[in-house]
């Protein structure tokens, strides 16, 4: 033990002129941290630390040896970081308290930059990682799980408020209110995360401009993913899977502008994408499969381009709530398209109307859903195909693909 500590000290002192301090569950961690010099590395020995409200005020590296456990005994907060460049890695944090006055967090980053939270485990924390007015921080490789009961009593997995340049990657989050929550967070990246089984949203952001989301999977969250009041969002290669229920969406876009949604997959959601008041969004190369509604585009959306997507096996391809049509649909593959392609250029010669008459009817009077797929409604659908009277005639794909896009 002693020899190892000395060896470590020697190694690290020569490399970075900083000491390595090893501490155990019996020593008060706050004192150890206060005594350390900026740049020191503190190694926590395995064990159960019943210590709480620990504040890291210096730029330290806090590393857990074989996942030491910090326990909040369901009453307290655990770590608060107020120093730039702090690194926390390999620690288990569990059982924070729950309070209506303060947001109790496993790790709170408060007005810092360059801080990192890596490979930690969070078990039943109200908020796992709470970033507050921080920049250039990284949260990666963490496993975050809780068993939240309801929306009011619970917190978010990764919660960021008024931050910029964050990197959130490779985290696994489940059982919180929102998996990842951003408010006023700009120029940040969220990549390769898995957010599942959260009570409300897998990902939730508001007023968070110019962020990039890629390769994330959002699965079986209470209401899917909701993104609001934001411009300049890029989302690509994400999976939205099985967000299913009375008010569930793969993705809900509310007042989103100038953004790109590219190469995502929407499988088995009640509504794949719900668009409300969104403008100038490029939705391209996505695959919508086996959703209730692939897309619901409200009439207050304009100048969105929906192109080169695959629509496969959805009950309804597109639904809308009005007759105003300010979006363009081109070059999509619709599996319900039954036109022809005489000039063999890969695009059908007759336009496709993605809004079925039944989608319109059930929009006006939801109770008509009771007659869904009856012989009567099949006849209505056919009649409407011959002579469109009820469906919005302007909403159409003039260049429907006859073969599926290889995405």
């Amino acid at each position: 033990m002693l020899i190892r500590t000395i060896a470590c000290c020697l190694l690290f002192t020569t490399a970075a002129s900083a000491t390595v301090i090893r501490t155990g569950p019996s020593a008060p961690l706050q004192d150890v941290l206060d005594r350390a010099q900026p740049g020191d590395t503190i190694i926590l020995a395995p064990g159960l630390y019943r210590q709480h409200d620990i504040v890291i005020r210096k730029s330290l590296t806090l590393i857990g040896d074989n996942y030491p456990v910090l326990d909040g005994e369901n009453k307290y907060q655990l770590l608060t970081v107020t120093a730039n460049g702090t690194v926390i890695a390999g620690i288990t944090l569990q059982h924070t308290g729950r309070s209506s006055l303060t947001d109790m967090a496993g790790i709170r980053l408060q007005q810092v930059s360059q801080a990192q939270v890596r490979n930690c485990r969070f078990i039943n924390t109200t908020y796992a990682v709470y970033l507050q007015n921080s920049t250039h921080c990284t949260v990666s490789g963490n496993q975050i799980s809780a068993a939240a009961g309801d929306e009011l009593q619970s917190g978010n997995g990764i919660h960021a408020w008024k931050c910029s340049h964050l990197q959130i990657r490779d985290n696994t989050i489940s059982g919180h209110r929102d998996g990842i929550y951003f408010e006023f967070v700009t120029a940040s990246g969220v990549h390769h995360n898995l957010s599942s089984n959260n009570i409300r949203y897998g990902l939730h952001f508001m007023f968070s401009h110019n962020d990039v989301y890629s390769h994330n999977t959002f699965r079986a969250n209470g209401a899917g993913v909701a993104v609001m009041y934001t411009r300049g969002v890029v989302m690509y290669k994400n999976n939205f899977y099985h967000n299913w229920g009375d008010a569930a969406y793969g993705m809900l876009l509310k007042d989103i502008t100038d953004s790109r949604i590219i190469l995502n997959r929407f499988h088995k959601n009640t509504i794949g994408i719900f668009m409300d008041g969104t403008s100038r969004i490029d939705i391209a190369g996505n695959e919508f499969q086996a959703n209730g509604w692939a897309m619901r585009v409200q009439a207050n959306c304009d100048n969105n381009k929906i192109r080169m997507n695959n629509f496969l096996g959805n009950s309804f391809d597109v639904a809308t709530n009005g007759t105003l049509m300010l979006n363009s649909y081109t070059f999509n593959y619709w599996d319900k398209y039954d036109g022809y392609d005489l000039d063999r250029d890969g695009n059908g010669d007759v336009p496709y109307h993605p809004v079925s008459v039944y989608a319109v009817l059930s929009e006006r009077i939801p109770a008509t859903m009771l007659l869904y797929r009856s012989f009567l409604t099949n006849i209505m659908d056919q009649a409407e195909k011959m002579v469109p009277a009820i469906i919005p005639d302007q909403l159409r794909d003039n260049m429907p693909r006859t073969r599926k896009w290889n995405l």
Binding site: S315, A367, T368, L370, L371, Y372, R373, I379
Partner: protein, 255 residues
């Protein structure tokens, strides 16, 4: 009674219509299933076929057959057998052979190419619909005087259940769209076995849509085991009530 049923069965097996019916069903289901690869889409197409073909063909064919075997029935009744028994035996033969035709035509391909719970429910609904519309045909047979009128009535009845009822329901929904009529609608649907069968099946397949806001009531009621049992029990009532009515009328009918 068994002897009569056996006679009816043998006669129906020799009948070319039943064979053609089976063959058409089999061709449709095999081609659909192999085209769409046993997916939900193929099942939905098969559901549409079941909901349209089974009621119409069963009612028409059964009515015609009952009228054609009127002389056979009269001959039987001159023997010391009860009217009820004769009628029930003829019905059993009819319902059984049409159910077998459905199972052979749709059920076997389904079980071979897409063995899953929705397939089983589709087979169940098909068989129950065969039984129901055979019973309705029987009722039409005992209530009408001659064959022409009987066939006319059969056509009207089949169209009513497959098309007109839904049209009326749609009108009702529109007329009362400002009122909370959801529960009443579920109650009304009990009066159409085709709708019941459809909803039972849809809960297996298109749950995504049904779980949208309007579907909350589907889910709450028909989606629960109690709801499914209610639907299944209603379907069984749809077999029993026309059958018992038919027997009751037939007992006093002047032949």
């Amino acid at each position: 009674m068994l002897t009569i049923t056996r006679y009816v069965l043998i006669d129906l097996l020799r009948n070319r219509s039943v064979a053609v019916y089976t063959l058409v069903l089999a061709l449709l289901s095999v081609s659909l299933l192999s085209l769409e690869g046993g997916s939900g889409k193929a099942l939905l197409s098969l559901l549409n076929i079941t909901l349209l073909f089974v009621p119409v063909i069963t009612t028409l064919f059964a009515t015609i057959y009952f009228f054609n075997s009127l002389e056979f029935i009269e001959l039987l009744l001159s023997q010391p057998v009860k009217r009820t028994r004769v009628l029930l035996a003829v019905y059993t033969g009819m319902a059984f052979s049409l159910s077998v035709a459905f199972v052979a035509g749709v059920g076997l391909p389904l079980l071979l190419l897409a063995p899953a719970l929705p397939s089983l429910i589709l087979i169940f609904t098909g068989v129950v619909l065969s039984c129901i519309f055979s019973a309705i045909a029987l009722l039409v047979f005992v209530l009408t005087k001659d064959k022409t009128r009987g066939i006319g009535a059969a056509i009207v009845v089949a169209l009513f259940f497959t098309l007109l009822f839904d049209g009326l329901l749609m009108m009702l929904i529109y007329a009362f769209s400002d009122y909370p009529v959801d529960k009443a609608l579920i109650a009304l649907m009990t009066f159409n076995p085709v709708d019941l069968a459809r909803v039972l099946m849809l809960l297996q397949l298109d749950a995504a849509v049904l779980m949208g806001y309007s579907g909350a009531l589907f889910k709450k009621f028909l989606g629960t085991p109690a709801g499914s049992i209610y639907a299944a029990a209603s379907l069984v009532c749809w077999v029993l009530i026309p059958l018992l009515l038919g027997v009751k009328v037939f007992r006093k009918k002047d032949l």
